[in-house]
Every structure is written in C-alpha cells, then in structure tokens.
C-alpha cells in the first residue's frame, strides 16, 4: 500500500508499519488506562472508514464529530480523511440551536457523537437540518431504545464486512487523497457575527505540525493529555495533527471532571492549555494554600519569594548567585517539585499557552517553579502556527519569533499579517470573507494589532478593532486592562469600557470558587452567585484588586490614563449559553455592551445603583430571570507621579 506522507492517513499508516506496537492512544475507562497501539488504531480507522462508506459516505462529504475527547472520535477524523471526506468537529457543550447553524452551514449528513446527550441535541436540531441522515454514537448508555441511530460497534462490524466484500476499496480511496485536499473544517469561535467554517488542507496542517514538532523536538516518546474541546484549533494541532505527524501518544481523560487526577497519573511531557486553565490551577492552589496550616503557609511563602527572585532566571540559564541557587535548590526539594507533581507537571518538558493573553504574573509563576511554559501565537486560519517562543528566549509579554516557514509583517495600520504554507484554503461558502482576509500578495490579515520588539519577537496588543483611544487621546487597550484584573484569583472575568470616553469603567465577574471560599472562611453566609456578588465585603475585596491594577497602570506612562475609575460586579456569570462569551470563552464585547447598555450608561453617568433584569438560559434549555439592584463602586485612581513615589 503506497500512501502519501503529505496526508494524515498516509502518515498514520506509516506509523502502523514502522512502529506497530508503539502506544498511540490511551483512555481511562472503568478506572483503568487502556492502550491502543498504532497498528490497532490503523485497523480501527480502516474499519470506521469502510463502515462509513457502507452507509454511503463519499468523497467531499462532511462528517460532524461531537463529544468530549474520546479515542474513537479522534480516529473518526482520520477515517473521514481516508475517504476524502472532511471532518467537522463541533463544540460539545453548545446547545441544539447552535448545532443547527453549523450543521446547516456545512450541510452535514453524517455525524459521529459521543453519547446520549449529543444524540438528544442532534434529534432536537434535526427538524431544522434536513440533510442530517446518519447519527452514529460511541457510548450506548441510555440509547438502546432509540430508533434511526447507529452504534459505533455496529458501524465497525459493518465496516469489516464491507472491507471483506470490497478488498480493493480502501487502498484505492487512500491513493486518491491529495495533500492539497481539504483535511478539516474548523469553525471560528465568532467573537463577531456567526461562526465561519475554516477549511484547511492536509498540506497546511502537516506543515504547521511538522514545523512546531521540529521546533520543540517532539518525538514518539512524548505524551500529551487531550482534554481541550476537539473543535478548537489548538486541540486539533496538539492532539491530532502533531500526534499523527510526530507519532507520540495521546491520553484521553476519564471525564471532564477528572482531568486533574488524570494529568497526575499520566504525567505528560508536552502540555498545552489556554491561560484560563493555568489561571484556574493557580486559583485552586491559592485557595488550598490559604486553608493550609500556618507553618505550611509560611514555608510556601518563603519558597515562592525565592522562586520569584531567581526561578525564571535559572530556567533560562542566566547567571544567578550561588546563594540564590542554593536557596532555589532547597525550595525545589521542599515546595516546587511537590507542587509540580500535584499539578501533574513533573515530567513536562515543554508547556504552551495560547488562545488569549496570559497575565505576566501568572506566566512568571509557572516558569519560576521550573515549568518551561512558553507562548505561541496563531489562529484557526493559520493552523495555530504563526509565532513560537524558543526555549532560550522566553519573554513574558511577547508571543515569540516567526515560526519556521512563516512570514510575519506589520501592516501600515498596525495589523499583524502573515504568509506561509499553513494558511487556510478558504472560508466555506464565503468567498467574500476569504477575499477580504487574504490580500493580493497572499498575506492573511489576522485582525490583531501588534509590533515587533527590539529582539524581533512579536508583541500582540489587542484585537485591532478593540484598540481605541480615550477622549484625552491616550491609548486604550481593553484586553490589557481586563487581563490585569483577571490575574487576581477572585476575579474570573472582566469587561472594560473606555473607547471614546473620558475614563475607563469595568464590569467584573467574581470567581465563585475563590470568593466563595474566602466568604466561608469569614463566616459570610450567601445563597448563590447573585447574593455573594452583592455583599459589601465582596465589593470591597474587588475594589482592592481594582485599585492594585490602577496603581500598576499608573506606573506605565502610556497606560496611566486607562485606570479603572468606576466598576460594578455583575449579578450573573457571563456564559456562552447566553451568547456573552464565545465557546472558547472570550468575551463578546460588543454584545455585552449592547445587552447591558443600562449598566454601561449607569457607570459613565455616575449613578450609585442601577436596577437590572436579565434573562438567563439554563443548560437544559429552560429560561429564567435574574434581577438585582447593582451598586456601582468608585475606585481610587493614582496620579502617575504619586504612584512612582509610593513604589
């Protein structure tokens, strides 16, 4: 069988030949890690592909893939590619109405899903999606009496029979795939407008995976935990493209709630998480340290002070005094190594974060305890592959050097534009959008504003359309302010307003876990989020955080105008189900400003309280109302010079 190394199926079957017994996929099932080797995976992929073919799946068709990270769903991606089809992973936590949009846009006729929950949502969406004909499910629980759906095991049996009956079929399909064929369609998260289907070829994703795998010297011995949404380009690069290209092992956690335990058990060598995950880890850690006994707290604080002083420098190989080295060595034995173990990062060689800006303090924390956390930059349209940080030159506020084979330029208006083999083929059925984003010279316009620093590393300021000016003419970059606020464990989400205004105001979402714990330790009784968020003590807590941010902003001459003058703590958590966040949990600024226009007005009009009623959607589709009188707080701001004197 001759297969092209330029396609994903070609690469997978090459692994099955050259390292048949090497573990390819693991999944924790019934409490025990199960392993599938490359040859087993290849056989399974072949059976799925033949099964799909037996059901009528043909070249060019779309296969929707919905569910948590399950081995069979990853294999289904390759199976669809074997037939020249295009897999379309979808966000598993989206409600049926959002499914309907994507399913219709992609004219999906075949779907492989994880379980009853997803089948139910597809059934609900079905009347609006006339094309959807075949639903295949992995986990049969609760589905035995459903009609018109196929279970995975039957699909595989069907596939094996089809393979026997048509012995030449599968190989013929494989040879027909071209590296230029579309390999995957990922939907953009849609911070503005409806999601668009981004079509990427085998060649593009393999170029991105090869480039990054070589950059970080990934080998078949590496191991990753696959726990991020399969529909996200980040997961597709780290858990699929690099997996098939480098031939390492992916590990699927038992469930979404067990990720932390599974991480510890697997001890991945290569780890990837959006900043939010690192934030949550640190929040949990902070909570648990505050609950620890006094001697433990003391030891932790002393060791962390040492780590802050010299940890990152030691990791970078910069000169550090002998005394600091000795202190760090001791700290490593007592705190950092056990801490890395608790975080499941004892064996991590390379860790990446991307998807949103990471707070500098957060970033520094992980590096200071010896985790080689780096940043990269990319988007769905660029296979998440534009800039990468090399081991020796990791910086807190940049996203790295242009990746191998990628050209990065700054356009006249400050927008980052890129060119290279990893660019999208097109937006599905949107020639207008494709033409708009790729210019005549073949550069893709990212929509991010940024610049190169003195060392040639790219620095991203914000989304180009979000960067604005205050009325006094000073720079206003909302994301920057929000990220500073979000670094506090007590603040989960922040939305800043200030473009074309006299000063900056902000909405805050408290972190229920962290603030709840804080309240419990103070015997502060509360009934739920809305109640807790309105407590005067909590408002004071948030005010302290805001004022610290203001003090920091005051130190930066370019940003001292962006201090947060007034803020309020929202009465509900921002939620993707209410369209306030994208599925990748980025705030949809425009939508929020519109939805909560009364609150924005109240902030800027100087009112002391504002009544608000908001409709919320529950996970099961029911609706309810949340109403509250929100107090609006004024935060202390600092004159630039005064802050410098204080510091």
């Amino acid at each position: 069988m001759e297969t092209s190394p330029g396609t994903f199926p070609g690469r997978m079957f090459a692994h099955a030949r050259t390292r048949p017994q090497h573990p390819a996929t693991r999944e924790k099932d019934l409490g025990i890690w199960q392993t599938w080797t490359w040859s087993e995976v290849a056989a399974e992929v072949r059976a799925i592909a033949c099964g799909l073919a037996a059901l009528g799946f043909k070249r060019g068709m779309h296969l929707a893939i919905i569910g948590d990270n399950r081995p069979r769903l990853y294999w289904s991606i390759t199976a669809a590619q074997c037939l020249g089809g295009v897999p379309v992973p979808m966000y598993q936590d989206a409600p049926a109405a959002e499914f309907a949009y994507v399913l219709n846009d992609a004219e999906v006729a075949y779907a492989i899903v994880e379980d009853q929950e997803q089948v139910d949502k597809l059934m609900e969406a079905r009347p609006q999606v006339p094309t959807l004909a075949h639903i295949i499910y992995d986990d049969p629980r609760g589905l035995r009496s459903y009609e018109g759906v196929v279970d995975y095991d039957s699909l595989v049996v069907l596939g094996r029979e089809y393979d026997v009956a048509h012995p030449d079929f599968f190989d013929a399909q494989l040879t027909a795939i071209d590296p230029g064929d579309v390999a995957i369609m990922l939907y953009t998260s849609g911070t503005t407008g409806k999601p668009k289907g981004v079509r990427q070829s085998h060649a593009a994703f393999i170029a991105a995976a090869l480039g990054s795998a070589e950059f970080d010297h990934l080998t078949p011995e590496d191991s990753v935990l696959s726990y991020l949404p399969m529909a996200w380009v980040g997961d597709h690069l780290f858990s699929y493209a690099q997996w098939v290209v480098a031939g390492f092992t992916i590990n699927c956690p038992e469930s979404g709630d067990t990720v932390m335990t599974d991480l510890r058990e697997i001890g991945p060598t290569y780890y990837f998480a959006p900043p939010r995950v690192f934030e949550n880890l640190l929040t949990q850690l902070t909570i648990r340290m505050e609950d620890a006994s006094a001697p433990k707290r003391w030891l932790y604080q002393r060791c962390m002070a040492v780590a802050r002083r010299c940890g990152a420098e030691i990791l970078d190989g910069r000169p550090v005094s002998m005394a600091n080295r000795a202190a760090y060595w001791l700290g490593n034995v007592l705190i950092y190594a056990p801490l890395r173990n608790v975080l499941g990062m004892s064996r991590v060689r390379v860790a990446y974060t991307a998807g949103a800006a990471i707070g500098p303090d957060l970033f520094r924390f992980y590096r200071s305890i010896g985790i080689n956390l780096k940043q990269f930059y990319g988007s769905t349209e660029t296979c998440a592959y534009v800039c990468l940080q090399p081991d020796s030159a990791v910086k807190l506020d940049t996203v790295g050097l242009p990746a191998p084979a990628v050209e990065v330029k700054i356009a006249g208006d400050g927008e980052v534009i890129v060119r290279g083999p990893m660019l999208l083929t097109e937006y599905y059925r949107r020639p207008d959008a494709t033409a708009e984003s790729i210019d005549a010279d073949g550069y893709f316009h990212t929509g991010d504003a940024g610049y190169f620093d003195a060392d040639g590393q790219l620095k991203i300021i914000d989304r180009a359309k979000d960067v604005g000016k205050l009325n006094d003419g000073s720079l206003y970059a909302p994301n920057y302010i929000e990220n500073k606020l979000k670094f506090f464990a007590h603040i989960k989400e922040a939305v800043a307003f200030g473009n074309a205004r006299d000063h900056v105001c902000a909405f805050i979402n408290i972190d229920m876990g962290s603030v709840g714990d804080w309240a419990e330790r103070r015997n502060l009784a509360y009934s739920g989020y809305t109640d807790l968020a309105a407590k005067p003590e909590v408002l004071q807590l948030v005010r302290d955080c805001v004022e610290q941010v203001n003090a920091e902003l005051a130190r930066d001459p370019a940003l001292s105008g962006s201090q947060v003058h007034r803020f309020l703590v929202l009465h509900k958590e921002l939620d993707p189900d209410d369209d306030e966040l994208t599925r990748t949990r980025k705030v949809r600024r425009g939508y929020i400003a519109e939805k909560y226009a009364v609150l924005v007005d109240a902030l800027f009009a100087g009112r002391a309280t504002q009544h608000i009623e908001t409709e919320v959607k529950f996970e099961d589709g029911r609706r309810g109302m949340v109403a509250a009188d929100l107090p609006i707080e004024t935060a202390r701001t600092f004159a630039p010079a005064a802050a410098r004197a204080a510091a």
Partner: protein, 262 residues
C-alpha cells in the same frame, strides 16, 4: 424516552402489616404488592409511616402483625442480613455513609456480602482475598461509571455536597446488585438539576439492570413522571393505591395532602 422493560409478576407482597411503638401506631393493616421491574412509589404527608414501611420490608423494624412475601416465601418478619442476601438494597433518608472513608471504599462496602475470603486472608491480602477484591473492584468501577462519579472516587464522603452524597449512597446500594432497591427520599434537599440527574439515574437503573424499585418521595412531579404505581399512606393507613393518573383525582389523597377544613 420509551421504556422497553416489561413489568412482570409480583415479587414482594405485604399483607396486613401493623407496627406500633408502644401506644403510637405507625402502620395499621397495610397491604400492597410490588411487581417485578416496576417503579413503585410510597407517598404521604410527614409522619404517615412511609419510612417505617421500608424499614419493615428490609427488616430494620419487625411488625407486630402481618406477613411479608418476597419471591414467594412468606415471613412474619424480615431480618436485615437475610434481606440483603436475598437481593434487597436500600438508601436512607438521612444519608448513612462512612463520612471519613473515600467514595470508592464506601461503595466497596456494598460488595461485602459477595466476599468469601476470611478475615486473615483479607488482612494479609492473600488467597481468595486478592482475586475477590479485583473482581469486586471491577463491578464497583462499573457502578462509578454508571452514576458518573469518577471525579470523586478518592474523595472522602464527608467533603462532598449533599446531592453527591445521595448519589454515592445509591452507588453503594447498586454495588450489591440488588433485585429490589428501596430508596428513602432519594431527591430530598436537592436542587432542580440534581433532581433531574437522579430521576435519570433511577430510570436508567430500572431500564438497564431491570431492578425493581420502591421509592419514597415528596416531589409529586417526580412521582407522577417516573413511577408506575403509587401507594398513598396517611396516619399509618393506606388511603390510595394505583397508577399516578388515577390518584390525581382521588379525593382522600387530595385531602391528605392539602388538608381539609374542619
């Protein structure tokens, strides 16, 4: 969701059960039956004798009068060990778990009757103990997967929120692979979402394992939705028995629940 199970013959029958604590009559001449694979509810106002009825069925209380017929064998009174070994498992109104033990260990206690190894073998992890533990652990993992509590496997029960503790208690009962499951207010104190989850689990148990279920519940919505037949008790007497729809219009039941003007 359509149920494919078929309700079979009577597996449990109680006749003329009367139970008194000194002068207090908890139950008076109660008779009803439970058929195989059905979900049977016992409802009634506080103090109606619902929990006492369950306690009589699995032998915690011994009735002064009446017979209990389980799988065709009539008895004057059950005893708890016999009930458990015959395939009756239960959960309690006020959760009865070992708070300091992990979820896993708590559920393992549900397998206690299946362990044949003696004390010495278990203590030294030799002979039958090892293989038995592995086999029983596999069954327990199945239950953990079924009730979706993998993430708390190693957590001490005392640290869990109430709703999850209830689920762990159900898990322990299921680990015994019961043919008759007695649930004492499985949804008390839960929020709407937790109740929905619990309903789904009860239906799944019934459908997948064919387990016969007798449950006490206050939430009428739940009872009407998931139960096949309902017994209504009031002041220790049976005032109604039948399908949920028949009872909806039964005047005695309405009076007992809403009260009547005197």
């Amino acid at each position: 969701m359509t149920m494919q199970r078929t309700v079979g013959d009577v597996v449990l029958k109680v006749d003329d059960i009367s139970l008194a604590f000194g002068g207090v009559k908890a139950l008076t001449d109660i008779s009803f039956d439970v058929r195989e694979h059905e979900i049977r509810a016992i409802i009634g106002p506080n103090g109606a004798g619902k929990s006492s009825m369950l306690n009589v069925i699995n032998g915690v209380y011994h009735a002064q009068h009446g017979t209990i017929t389980f799988h065709g064998v009539p008895r004057h009174a059950m005893n708890t060990h016999e009930a458990a070994s015959q395939g009756i498992a239960r959960t309690f109104q006020n959760i009865a778990l070992f708070k300091g033990m992990s979820v896993l260990d708590n559920i393992m206690t549900g397998r206690n009757l299946r362990m044949k190894a003696n004390f010495l073998e278990q203590a030294l992890w030799i002979g039958r103990a090892r293989n038995e533990e592995l086999a029983n652990r596999a069954k327990v993992e199945e239950v953990i997967d079924f009730l979706e509590i993998q993430h708390i496997r190693r957590t001490p029960v005392g640290r869990l929120p109430y709703g999850l503790q209830k689920r762990v208690e159900l898990a322990r009962a299921l680990a015994a692979e019961p043919t008759l499951l007695l649930l004492d207010e499985p949804m008390a104190g839960m929020n709407v979402e937790e109740k929905q989850d619990m309903c789904r689990f009860i239906l799944d148990v019934n459908e997948q394992y064919g387990t016969t279920i007798v449950l006490i519940e206050h939430d009428m919505g739940v009872v009407m939705d998931i139960c096949d037949r309902v017994v209504v008790l009031d002041y220790g007497r049976k005032i109604g028995d039948g399908a949920p729809d028949d009872l909806r219009h039964n005047q005695a039941v309405i009076d007992a629940y809403l009260g009547v003007a005197h």
